[in-house]
């Protein structure tokens, strides 16, 4: 099975400051990998490397087996979709126009595109926003519209940089459910998350970054170690079993 994403010893820095050092990480079809770590750990830089915004200075990045530098923009767009933290638009596009842009890399007919967009707007709870101007939507609404745009792109690899930071708790869970459905359909997701509990509840694997390096990657149980997390986040943290279901909870410890 070819990995959807394969980072091999990737490094990138600006002005002698290493933002990402020797990062090796893969994403396979059907799995959700969450990328966690404190501010400045290199999570967003990793997203920028995978999305082709910046070029790695060392190591290799493969999308679906193809070296990222050898793919043109369109080929890359058919292999991975990217949801940036925020998308600011100064022109009065309707929300449905924004969603429809996600179909650009595909060679499907208009009818198929229309149906795909309509279905995805329903699933992302944005149908009622379809005829609204995107620039006047709230942050959380814009984020859902953009999520719909990214999902209609139907790329095998979906990379999301803090997709839920502007969302209320219901929509937070809606997003994670949609990503799980995409993974069940064979997509692979690399998701940057700040909320460790959201990551714990929804990840097949967690990758923990610290100062540009990957310090742990593996199952939720392997990575969510109270000692390791407390050190990385420089904040005493406890990890306890979830009271109501399988899984773990990360709690802030006083003092």
């Amino acid at each position: 099975m070819t990995a959807l994403l394969d980072l091999g010893g990737v490094s990138y820095g600006v002005a002698a400051r290493g933002l990402v050092n020797d990062l090796t990480l893969g994403v396979d079809p059907g799995e959700i990998v969450t990328l966690v770590g404190p501010n400045g750990a290199g999570k967003t830089t990793t997203v920028r490397l995978v999305s082709g915004e910046v070029e790695a200075q060392g190591g290799t990045i493969r999308l679906g087996g193809g070296e990222i530098g050898s793919l043109n923009a369109l080929e890359a767009a058919r292999r991975r979709a990217v949801l940036p933290q925020q998308t600011t638009v100064r022109f009065p596009f309707l929300a449905r126009d924004i969603v429809a842009m996600g179909r650009f890399p595909l060679d499907t007919d208009r009818e198929t595109d229309f149906e795909a967009c309509r279905a995805m707007m329903r699933r992302t709870d944005t149908t009622h926003l379809a005829e609204s101007f995107y620039p006047v939507l709230s942050g959380g609404e814009q984020a859902r519209v953009n999520l719909a745009r990214v999902l209609v792109q139907e790329a095998p690899l979906i990379v999301l940089d803090e997709p839920v930071s502007a969302m209320d708790v219901r929509h937070e869970l809606l997003v994670m459910r949609l990503l799980r459905e995409a993974a069940d359909d064979g997509a692979g997701c690399l998701v940057v998350l700040h909320d460790l509990n959201l990551a714990a509840a929804n990840a097949d694997r967690i990758a923990l970054m610290h100062e540009g390096r990957l310090v742990a990657v593996g199952s939720v149980e392997e990575v969510l170690d109270a000692g390791l997390l407390s050190e990385v986040y420089q904040q005493p943290l406890s990890v306890i079993p979830h009271p109501e279901r399988d899984g773990l909870l990360v709690l802030v410890r006083d003092g």
Binding site: E53, E75, P84, L94
Partner: protein
């Protein structure tokens, strides 16, 4: 949908009405019936109306090339404005504001001054080169870390516009050349003395620029979403921007070479039709083209007839009408979908 249809009908009817009005009105008034008869006569249609030799000369040799040149100049400037707005992701994209028209005027004036009387095509060639150089200067100043800074772009444009206007004024005053038109022509714009030859040259260059834009329309939409987002969706952003700015240089260079600096067309035309059609470029392109043509045809009619026996400069009319119109559009747009951000 209903509003969209009304807009196309209004644009079409407006263009037709202004064509006839421009041919009929002026120091020497000719009735619309005789105007139509002259046009019919030239395509071999006898409409049974008596037309004089002077009717024919005024309509066919003086007013028709002029009104058509107004349409072509307006169409070029309207599409150029829309394209600049997309390429720079900036609602203030407009050839005069950004100094692109100034660059074109400088290029055209220099070309005519250097090539002299021999240069029938010198002005458009110089205009296109001047516009391209202005665009190159703009991008190198205003682009930083992979994005175009909104304020820097406009500030750089203000500086470019001032410098180029000074250079044009200087050359026009210093160089003694009968072919070189006066500083007021270049800086304030005019369509007086339009000829068929000038019309064909201008049309050719403007059309070459306009023809590029439909190929870019879907990609320009994505560019408005964000350069980063467009790249994620498979757009070769550098290539699209280069093509868009190249097309802008052709349209602006030729328009300015023919009519001097005519401001506000690239602002008023795209923003007015965007308010009805939305920002999608496939439709916006043709509506901006028609609205630009309409605006300059109307402005030239006013320029020719308002201050008879003299003419008001074309750029003065577009500014007096376009400025307040644009302010009103800004307010209306803001009320409808918030600030520009």
């Amino acid at each position: 949908m209903k509003r969209t249809g009304s807009l196309w009908i209004a644009l079409g009817a407006g263009l037709l009405a202004l064509l006839v009005a421009n041919l009929a009105m002026g120091a020497f008034s000719i009735s619309p019936t005789r105007v139509v008869a002259v046009l019919g006569d030239h395509i071999g249609l006898d409409l049974g109306v008596d037309i004089t030799r002077s009717d024919d000369a005024v309509v066919w040799s003086i007013r028709l090339p002029r009104v058509l040149l107004a349409a072509v100049v307006g169409a070029g400037l309207g599409v150029a404005g829309m394209t600049l707005q997309a390429a720079f992701r900036n609602p203030l994209g407009e050839a005069q504001i950004l100094g692109v028209s100034g660059g074109a005027a400088t290029g055209a004036v220099l070309a005519v001054a250097l090539v002299g009387a021999a240069g029938g095509g010198a002005a458009p060639v110089g205009g296109v080169i001047g516009a391209a150089l202005a665009l190159w200067t703009l991008t190198s100043v205003a682009r930083y870390r992979g994005r175009t800074e909104v304020a820097t772009l406009v500030l750089a444009g203000v500086a470019l516009a001032a410098v180029t206007a000074a250079v044009v004024g200087l050359i026009a005053v210093v160089v003694d050349n009968d072919e070189l038109r006066s500083a007021p022509f270049w800086l304030l714009g005019a369509l007086s003395g339009a000829t068929w030859k000038e019309l064909w040259i201008t049309t050719g260059v403007v059309a070459a620029g306009v023809a590029v834009v439909p190929l870019l329309a879907a990609r320009l939409d994505l560019l408005l979403l964000g350069e980063r987002e467009a790249a994620h969706l498979g757009v070769d952003v550098k290539q699209v921007r280069l093509a868009a700015l190249g097309a802008t240089a052709l349209m602006t260079g030729a328009a300015v070479a023919a009519a001097g600096i005519v401001g506000f067309v690239g602002l008023v035309a795209p923003h007015a039709v965007r308010a009805v059609l939305g920002p999608g470029h496939r439709r916006l392109l043709w509506a901006s083209l028609a609205a630009g043509a309409l605006f300059v045809m109307a402005a030239d009619l006013v320029a020719r007839t308002a201050a008879t026996p003299t003419e008001a400069p074309l750029g003065v009319v577009t500014a007096i009408v376009g400025g307040p119109l644009f302010l009103w559009l800004l307010r209306r747009t803001r009320a409808q979908y918030g600030e520009w951000g």
